[in-house]
């Protein structure tokens, strides 16, 4: 049996659940999944400006807390926090180890960056248009699978840092490594992929993104515990979390997470396998312990998906609130004023009333909110043009309807993402091991 914990489900996730897993769960592996499609494109832009950057922005914070805690323990960390620059990420980890004077061995896995191997004329899968027509390409990262991690696992590195590895592969690789599963035993690979899929969003399996007071209550969410799985060589697993942490794993949370982001439950495609989720069995063994088994699989796809990041201009936003009598009408009037003044300057322009129609783009029932927040958003080619939106909304203070308060403005650079495909044999991964040995005399 091996035990794998999930210590982060996205780049901005909480820090301490991973610490609790390391200290109290007796893990064999801790996986930190911190990379989204847009995140890696932004990281590529940072790397372009500074060759020593391009790894996850929270890497230093997470590693500073985890390195002392894993020291002397068997647990190994597998993470995609290398983002656009796993080598620089590994160097940073060594630098932290040196500062703390703790022995650490790190393996950096590269090979997902295929920017030099794709052509601007390649077609985007979503739009069937050449990539270059979308905007200046800033990144091209192939979703690579378990094979990239297996070399690193064979080394004795305690921390393995990679870039664009497919999320479930971060979990499947240690299973293959520990159980010697054949790389073409697709049923086992599918079972392991389901385990990885259930764990990859961390707190989303233990009551996060689930709770609904009075209907789906979850206890102690301020101290939500992240999940771990006990996995057997036959590919079955039980899921639980550290005792006395908050949250709860139930059949309901597991069902929601099993289907999360699955666009075809009959064929969940990763670089390693095509897994059929409709054969998965979920069973509650006792309260807080869920058993998962039964997935079947088909051979992996011949081509790898490549995530392309491109420059897509800037989004400017401005917000201002109205409250009390006639709040909705005053917010609406404010929106009309902005629309008349600058709506024509933007190809894409949006007016929302937060409290009325912003999240669902309409209201499914009549409501009369006590307060309403006007939100204006628009896309522009330059930062200066995008900034006009916030400036105009702010000017509603003295020029707009009565009682407008709490104006805020922001401009964000937009990185668009489309996909294309690349032949497997064009993608070669490498592993580089780095080490710091603690100085005993210090």
């Amino acid at each position: 049996m091996i035990r794998i914990g999930s210590g982060a489900g996205f780049a901005g996730d909480r820090i301490e659940p991973a610490e609790i897993l390391v200290e109290h769960a007796n893990l064999d592996y801790l996986v930190l999944e911190c990379l989204a499609e847009r995140t890696i494109a932004l990281a590529q832009k940072r790397k372009k400006q500074d060759a020593h950057s391009g790894y996850d922005v929270l890497l230093e914070k997470r590693m500073r807390s985890l390195i002392p805690k894993i020291s002397g323990k068997k647990v190994r960390i597998i993470t995609n926090m290398g983002a656009a620059n796993p080598i620089a990420g590994a160097n940073k980890i060594i630098e932290i180890a040196k500062e703390l004077n703790i022995t650490v061995k790190v393996a950096a896995v590269t090979g997902d960056d295929v920017l030099t191997k794709i052509s601007p004329d390649d077609l985007a899968w979503e739009t069937e248009k050449p990539l270059i027509e979308h905007g200046q390409i800033v990144s091209a990262n192939a979703y690579i699978g378990v094979d990239a991690l297996l070399d690193a696992l064979k080394s004795d590195a305690q921390i393995i840092i990679a870039g664009r590895i497919a999320d479930p592969s971060l979990f499947l690789a240690p299973m293959i490594h520990e159980f010697n599963w054949a790389i073409d035993d697709y049923d086992l690979l599918a079972k392991g992929t389901v385990i990885g899929h259930l764990l990859e969003c961390a707190g989303q399996l233990t009551g996060g993104y689930f709770a609904d007071p009075g209907k789906k209550d979850i206890k102690d969410m301020a101290n939500l515990g992240f999940p771990f799985a006990d996995i057997l060589a036959d590919g079955s697993a039980t899921f639980s979390k550290v005792e006395r942490t908050g949250g709860q794993i139930t059949l309901r949370t597991a069902k929601e997470q099993l289907l999360y982001e699955v666009v075809d439950p009959n064929a969940y495609i990763t670089p390693d396998v095509i897994a059929d989720f409709t054969s998965v069995k979920l069973e509650e063994i006792y309260e807080g312990l869920i058993k998962v088994d039964g997935a079947v699989g088909l051979p992996m796809p011949q081509k790898l998906k490549v995530s392309i990041g491109y420059e897509a201009g800037y989004i400017g936003e401005g917000e201002i609130s109205y409250a009390g009598p006639n709040a909705t009408a005053r917010a609406s009037l404010a929106g009309d004023i902005i629309q008349e003044r600058i709506g024509h300057l933007f190809g894409e322009f949006q007016v929302d009333l937060i409290g009325v129609n912003a999240c669902h783009r309409k209201s499914f029932r009549e409501s009369d909110p006590y307060e309403v927040r006007l939100r204006i958003a628009g896309k522009a080619k330059s930062m200066a043009e995008a900034a006009i939106i916030g400036e105009e909304v702010e000017a509603l203070y003295t020029n707009g309807p009565a009682g407008g308060g709490g104006a805020r403005k922001v401009v964000n650079e937009v990185i668009g993402v489309v996909s294309t495909f690349i032949d497997r044999d064009q993608v070669r991964s490498q592993t580089e091991v780095k080490e710091y040995v603690a100085n005993e005399t210090l």
């Binding site: 979503e126 289907l259 989004i315 309409k362 937009v414 993402v417």
Partner: protein
């Protein structure tokens, strides 16, 4: 009766596509949902949100329905002007549906 009373739902996103799982609280409601909650009914309910097609998968092993809605995020997570770019809140738009 609203769908909210008998089922829970989670939204996921992939590019400009969203997934909506619909999971009845009681197993006995699964057949009822299978009959009533067709892809057409969901498309009609979410017509201002989902510009593309709605596909339904029956996930019998966990008594759940999975709806896959294309062109649902106003160009996609990274480029959309909407407040909720991921469509995370859309599960509760579906749960507003009157199911009879």
């Amino acid at each position: 009766m609203k769908l909210y009373e008998i089922a829970h739902c989670r939204t996921g996103d992939k590019g400009n596509t969203i997934t909506l799982s619909v999971i009845p609280y009681e197993k006995s409601d699964y057949e009822f949902l299978k009959e009533r909650l067709t892809a057409d009914v969901v498309k009609q309910h979410l017509k201002e949100i989902v510009e593309g097609e709605v596909k339904r998968f029956e996930v019998e092993n966990i008594q759940a329905l999975q709806f896959v809605c294309s062109q649902a995020l106003a160009t996609g997570v990274t480029t959309s002007l909407t407040l909720d770019t991921h469509g995370k809140s859309l599960s509760f738009a579906l749960l507003e549906l009157e199911i009879g």
